[in-house]
């Protein structure tokens, strides 16, 4: 008798279910994004979306990234890396569609190092957290990681200023220390371009005028942030980089035409007005990205 009661109460306790009725969209829900126009530094998160123009499931990941950006505002910075021969190399049998080559040597190197496209696309990383065990995240896993990341304290603040005219000029990065810390950090500065209209597979359809956003174009530097591994609060570490857009563009064209990549050299046509500068700092020991910042190249 005692046993039956124990078991039944056990069963009753654990049974439970929720049925949510529509509308499912929370009317007053949503986050009020933090106002990032003031001078105070806030935590920003970089979502690296590994994708490809012949990857039919990839636009769904890009839409997820946009939705996260819409929800949390400028604290979310996205980067699309087109990688892998299967999903990003211009397929000769589909000509004249899908003939643009979005790939870059840095995208390929990071893909190789982190082993992303090996397990299928779309796949991404959020601030590269979880490395080396649990960092390759499907698009539905990004939200949970973004929420935890946004609550973290920041040690660095990044300030980017640009002075570009006629495709030439300088980019200046000023990294400010908000705390006194120890560590081995690297600074990466890249250029991404948005609003690139070109082919993309989306599910069973081929979209001719798909808008590709935050596509990685080039990596200007990936070096130690400073020679020492101690940083004092209030320190400022400057870095100045001179760029020439046509030289950078030509580099990508040459990379694409390289026989090893079996591309077609069709990697040019950059539009300076659509280019942004992304700078981020990562911890060399854990690969985790601790702070990131983004500005338009031409103001």
């Amino acid at each position: 008798m005692k046993n039956i009661i124990t078991l039944f109460s056990f069963i009753l306790i654990i049974t439970s279910c929720d049925v949510v009725e529509g509308p499912y969209l929370i009317d007053d829900g949503g986050i009020t994004p933090i106002d990032t126009s003031t001078n105070t530094y806030v935590k920003k998160v970089l979502i690296e979306d590994f994708t490809g123009h012949t990857c039919p499931n990839c636009p769904a990941a890009a839409r997820e990234l946009e939705a996260i950006h819409e929800e949390y505002g400028d604290q979310i910075i996205g980067m699309a890396l087109h990688v892998s021969a299967t999903f990003a190399r211009p397929p000769t049998h589909e000509a004249p569609k899908f003939q643009y080559d979005f790939r870059t040597i840095w995208g390929a190197n990071w893909d190789n190092f982190f082993g992303i496209s090996d397990i299928g696309l779309p796949k991404g990383m959020v601030n590269r957290v979880g490395y080396p065990n649990d960092y390759k995240l499907g698009k539905n896993e990004w939200l949970a990681v973004v929420i935890t990341e946004l609550e973290k304290e920041i040690d660095f603040g990044i300030n980017i200023t640009t002075a570009i005219s006629g495709g030439n000029g300088a980019i200046t990065i000023n990294t400010e220390l908000l705390n006194t810390i120890d560590g081995d950090y690297n600074l990466v500065v890249c250029l991404t371009e948005s609003n690139i209209i070109n082919w993309q597979k989306d599910g069973t359809e081929n979209i001719e005028d798909y808008k590709h956003n935050h596509v990685l174009r080039t990596v200007l530097t990936d070096d130690a942030l400073s020679t020492s591994s101690t940083y004092t609060s209030g320190d400022n570490i400057p870095k100045s980089i001179t760029i020439n857009l046509s030289t950078l563009e030509q580099y990508n064209i040459d990379y694409s035409a390289n026989t090893a990549e079996a591309g077609n050299g069709n990697a040019g046509g950059w539009v300076a007005e659509n280019i942004s500068v992304i700078a981020y700092i990562y911890d060399n020991a854990t690969q985790e990205i601790v702070q990131v910042e983004e500005v338009h190249l031409i103001n």
Partner: protein
């Protein structure tokens, strides 16, 4: 670290064993080791493993004494064989439990495996060869209040690779064998069962309202009357959106799965017809996951083939939506009759067909609502079709022959998750002859010749296998698969493989060398799925 653990385990076990022998408790377990070396082979797409040698192994130790049982399993994947997922890495004690039965109530604390009905809403199980292990970690109670009534309840977290899910899984199941419970003798036997499972996960989504407790129910009925046997199960899963921030990503529709089977059999003859309809029934232990973390089991409604070329392109169940039917006929032509011959002839016939649901699976959110038709076969996209006939005949004391003829249709795009239009549907015709010849007492040689003529995919294949066995200890086998019909001349390759092994009691040692094609690989009586590889393999399995 490994040394310390082995040593500690050894000492611990010696202590337990000596204690046990004084107190009549028992101590036993089993051990399995799979090592494979990988050499690069570009032609067959075999990757070299950086570590050169990869290893999957595990050791189970169990202790039982009276009403008490406890045990643990130590697993080592350093690093896992390439057929396993990348995330399957590490070693440690991944399974430990203690069970105690008192007054008919069985309590298990720690890890356990469990299944509700056919597994449509919940199945926690393991298949080491395929890298499947979603053990539960928690508490389980089993109780039978009276004869014929079986109750169980459990709570815990589900395992995937080397971690446990975020979601907490709770479940309960009740089964009543009406004849035993109500104590009446009858030729008709009726068994009913009802199960319930729910997953709890907090809702962190700022934009959409997500259910925190996702529930699934299943009811089953089994009626047996003489040679007739009916079995049916209906399962339903309530709203289970993934939790995306986009409207298109969140599907609030109810999922359902229906399975029915009816069979009739008597001595020398058996026939069974089955159908299933699955709609949006993927059930994971964590809502945002895309791979693994699955806690239910939708059985594939096709015949499990073991001949290599028949299993070259196996059907993969689409838990999000499919409709299937299957028929099997088993017949033994009596010995002495004209067709039966001196020893009798056995015939096995199988037909299965799987197709898509009308308009795709159920979908519900603020903007769209879609429910596919209940039964829709004609005009729906074909996923898989298989019709095969197997005839077995013992010719005389020395020769036994099995012949198989089959026709298959395989929708490579859907079943392998490729972009629609890449490969289309591959049609193939397969013929197999399996002849075993007894040379003398204990020495047998078996030869298999298989031929697959295909239209599409990788083209046609031929396969030859010769296996020499010496009862009861030895086996030697040589196998060659030749892709002579591949449309890409460079891929018209031979996959040669040599294996030999030694068996004694409950110990089995096998070594092999050669190329394996990605797919199902069977040798010395064991089948498993493997990626393409080129190199040595060593298997040791033992129980004590």
């Amino acid at each position: 670290m490994m040394k310390k653990i082995s040593l500690t385990l050894a000492i611990l076990c010696i202590t337990i064993v000596s204690f046990a022998q004084n107190n009549s408790g028992e101590f036993h377990g089993d051990f399995d080791l799979n090592m494979q070396s990988y050499q690069e082979d570009e032609l067959i797409g075999a990757k070299a493993a950086e570590e050169i040698v990869l290893n999957n192994s595990y050791l189970n130790i169990n202790y039982t004494k009276g009403n008490f049982a406890a045990g643990l399993r130590y697993e080592s994947y350093l690093n896992a064989l390439l057929d396993f997922d990348d995330d399957y890495k590490g070693n440690g004690i991944m399974f430990r439990y203690a069970t105690y039965t008192i007054d008919g109530l069985e309590v298990t604390a720690g890890n356990y495996y469990e299944q509700i009905g056919s597994g449509l809403i919940f199945r926690s199980y393991e298949n080491k060869g395929l890298g499947q292990d979603n053990a539960m970690d928690g508490v389980r109670l089993k109780f039978s209040p009276t004869k014929g009534v079986y109750l169980k309840g459990f709570i815990g977290k589900s395992r995937t690779y080397f971690t446990y899910s975020d979601g907490v899984i709770r479940g309960a199941d009740g089964e009543i064998n009406l004849n035993e419970a109500l104590n009446f003798e009858s030729k008709t036997k009726i068994i009913v069962g009802q199960g319930f499972v729910s997953r709890f996960q907090p809702d962190i989504n700022p934009k959409f309202e997500l259910p925190k407790n996702v529930a699934a129910y299943s009811s089953r009925l089994n009626i047996i009357n003489g040679g007739w046997n009916y079995s049916g199960e209906y399962a339903t899963k309530l709203n289970d959106p993934i939790g995306s921030l986009t409207a298109e990503g969140n599907n609030y529709a109810k999922g359902s799965a229906l399975m029915n089977s009816l069979s009739y059999s008597k001595r020398g003859f058996g026939i069974i017809a089955e159908m299933h309809r699955v709609d949006h029934m993927e059930f994971r232990s964590e809502r945002a996951q895309e791979k693994q973390y699955i806690i239910n089991y939708i059985p594939t409604l096709t015949k499990q083939h073991t001949y290599t070329l028949l299993a070259l392109s196996p059907c993969a169940t689409q838990p999000e939506g499919e409709f299937g039917t299957q028929v099997d006929i088993f017949y033994k032509i009596k010995k002495g009759s004209f067709l039966g011959g001196k020893y009798g002839t056995k015939i096995s016939f199988n037909f299965s067909r799987i197709n898509a649901l009308n308009g795709g699976s159920s979908f519900l959110n603020d903007d769209t609502e879609h429910t596919p038709m209940l039964i829709s076969i004609k005009g729906e996209e074909l996923y898989f079709k298989d019709i095969n006939l197997e005839i077995y005949k013992k010719i005389n004391k020395k020769i036994k022959v099995t012949g198989v003829l089959a026709k298959q249709s395989y929708n490579k795009d859907v079943l392998e998750g490729k972009t629609p239009g890449t490969y289309g549907t591959v049609k193939s015709t397969i013929a197999i002859a399996d002849i075993s010849y007894k040379i003398k007492k204990g020495h047998t040689i078996r030869v298999e010749l298989q031929e697959l003529l295909a239209d599409g995919g990788e083209g046609s294949w031929s396969m030859g296998l010769a296996e020499y066995t010496i009862s009861p200890h030895w086996f030697f086998a040589v196998q060659d698969m030749y892709n002579w019909g591949n449309y890409d001349v460079k891929k018209q390759l031979h996959y040669v493989n040599i294996n030999c092994g030694f068996l004694s009691g409950s110990n089995r040692f096998a070594i092999g060398y050669g190329k394996k094609r990605a797919g199902i690989f069977c040798v010395g009586g064991v089948c498993k799925e493997v990626p393409s590889s080129n190199g040595f393999s060593l298997t040791i399995s033992s129980s004590f």
